[in-house]
Symmetry: C2
Subunit: 138 residues, 2 copies
DNA sequence: TTTCAGATTTAGAACAAATATAAATCAAGA
DNA sequence: TCTTGATTTATATTTGTTCTAAATCTGAAA
């Protein structure tokens, strides 16, 4: 059930509309850090009048509320992550998959770098992923 | 003199045209991690027929050659960094300044994370910079 | 129940960064 | 000097995102 999800939104003062619940559910069930386009394409069939503007609006609302986070790992388009906590990511240049990476960095924990107060962190590793490395070369 | 700069380009097989030298020099003398717009605005007066397309082309060539690097620290627009080596950055939400941050991360040094081969790294810290913190609050 | 007001959704226009295109210019070697 | 390929340039196009204004929905008040 999405009772949990409804509660999650209510706690942040966000009206739990069907559209918002569907976007949040899709994100939470995904592991790929999807883009707006991917979210929209996946959900538009399910809901006839569903609009891309709503996807943008919803993701903005959820991000601002700290329920999800936005990744700028690709220059061209934003990706979205159902996990709002600080964690790192790996982007494969071959298959374009985005992996979560579990590392804990002492600097992040300290909350300060060179006198600057850290409020958010994004760390992106780029290269060739394990899966792609096993297959063909380069 | 820009003899050094000419040599730098030649080593990478890049023809040292005036436009490329001027862009590279501007970048090397900057400390702000400028955008295409900023680079173009700063240089267009200096060179009458200078074009924004050339700035885009040049930055792409220099980035691919590994002479500079591109930062996706802001979703809206790319910033450019004369230092091609791995180092981290801090972005101030108040003044929008981008600071270099000198940290060395053991994961980066190892060159591997969870089976994925690391070829490049971008780590972005966001928050309130030292300068802004001293001044007004929030 | 009906009415109303504010929030939300929606379609499409507008915007901005970046890329693609094709003509003009340049530079080096024959 | 002529030729050829690389580079620059102006402009058009593309793409992701934001803005706008009308339509729709929802919940409270009458
Ligand atoms: Mn993640
Ligand atoms: Mn830097
Ligand atoms: Zn891969
Ligand atoms: Zn600041």
């Amino acid at each position: 059930m999405d009772e949990e999800r409804i509660e999650k939104l209510r706690e942040k003062g966000i009206a739990p509309t069907i559209q918002r619940l569907v976007v949040l559910q899709y994100l939470e069930e995904s592991t790929t850090h999807p883009t707006v386009e991917e979210i929209y394409e996946a959900l538009k069939g399910q809901y006839p009048t569903f609009s891309k503007a709503t996807v943008y609006n919803t993701l903005q609302v959820l991000t601002q509320a700290g329920l999800i986070q936005e990744l700028t790992i690709e220059k061209e388009k934003a990706h979205y992550d159902p996990r709002p906590d600080i964690h790192h990511h790996f982007f494969c240049r071959r298959c374009h998959r985005i992996y979560d990476v579990e590392i804990d960095c002492s600097v992040v924990k300290r909350g300060m770098v060179e006198g600057h107060k850290i409020e958010m962190v994004q760390a992106y590793f780029y290269g060739l992923c394990a899966r792609c490395r096993e297959e063909g070369d380069a």
